[in-house]
Symmetry: C2
Subunit: 271 residues, 2 copies
Amino acid sequence: MLRRSERIAVLAKYLNDYPSRLFSLSFFVELLGVAKSTVSEDLSLIRESWRSKGLGDLVTVPGASGGVKYVPCLSEEAIDRLLKDLAGQLADSHRILPGGFIYMSDIIGDPVITEQVGQIFANMFSETQADYVVTIATKGIPLAIATARALNLTTVIIRNDNKVTEGSSVSLNYITSSRTIRTMSLSRRALKEGARVLFIDDFMKAGSTAQGVVKLVKEFGAEVVGTGFLVTTAQPEEKMITDYHALLTLEKVDEALAQVVINPAPKKQVK
Amino acid sequence: MLRRSERIAVLAKYLNDYPSRLFSLSFFVELLGVAKSTVSEDLSLIRESWRSKGLGDLVTVPGASGGVKYVPCLSEEAIDRLLKDLAGQLADSHRILPGGFIYMSDIIGDPVITEQVGQIFANMFSETQADYVVTIATKGIPLAIATARALNLTTVIIRNDNKVTEGSSVSLNYITSSRTIRTMSLSRRALKEGARVLFIDDFMKAGSTAQGVVKLVKEFGAEVVGTGFLVTTAQPEEKMITDYHALLTLEKVDEALAQVVINPAPKKQVK
């Protein structure tokens, strides 16, 4: 039989391993071989200590089919710190690519940064009752996966090609802001009719891709109920979609002066 | 001042949030406001209770630059259970696609499955001293990310196109088993010279893609030191690469009979 602090170590691990998954109290009663009231006390203790250190929340769902789940949640200070740090990293002139683009694959490939960005999006969209997190290949994928993990949802990846391994697909042609025609394609099996989806991506300029995603999702009888970008450009101010959240705003890239201006997005957008 | 069980809740959360990251004891001393000896005792207690429930290990690194890290580790039973369950799901005849392919994007998009697969690969390759986890777009990405998270490494994604947002790239043409020529491309900034990389992907048939990845990585003066696939086909028996690990073996897909035969790979491969 485990002592209280040993039980806490086990409970904390289970809850933290499966964000947003509802665990019944009986699951823990069986796992630990103690009474329900003991499990409840242990959970309260974890909730209080995590809250006191800004490590997220435990939410109790009452009733017969209820239980407890861990909801990841970054504090305002942690979000501010992360976004300022990211803006600083992205403003490094060595990241400037020909055409005024910014290299950011290394940042998106960093598990610690991605995990935190996913938690921010998960908090933003926790009320949307989404069923899936959708993204479009390739750079949005790590951010979408982290968001989906925090919300305990499946990630769905829209592709730029039509692969035999996806089976019958729905495709949509769209015109990018650089006036080229591209195709996006999604397996018919990927989304259930009536599904509510979050769209997460790394970058938006004019929003033609995002608008394409909204339309493609509609073809499935599904609906985009939340949209989040790591970075959007300040220009053009008018985007082709209106309802979105961004974490960072790219004001300007000046190739000649080797200068990048990028800032955390205004608070009202970060909600 | 936190009580022991409250400290345990906080420590467990930090360690579990950052797999394979080395925390110095002084970090926790400052965080919790207690003596080093107290932190050591708390950590031993977490280690014992996690071990007793098969929840992974805490590894202590001695010396001035030492500390403690959490190493995710699935038990043999958990691995067996997962692979049998995956084989069962993938054998469902509804997954058969025209051409004898199997739909598996939904499984790869599931955060719980992906996380576990990533931990298996992380354990397999924990001794390789890898610096990056490399994959090729698109379906291997979630598995590579989960492996990288477990090992605290950056994920690097090889693309099938050459995008302006990647800057100067190294490209390589290769011939697939269906005799078509394809291109794979990786940003010159993505890998440091001399780097050791793990290659993780969802599927291998003849191994032409994997062989291409090995060659492309060499172009960077880097080296593939471990290769893992979720599924490999039983045929052809001779692959174009020899040193790899697979979790599942796809024996046969019979479209006419609507039959799939897929099994956990022989133990010697799972190591």
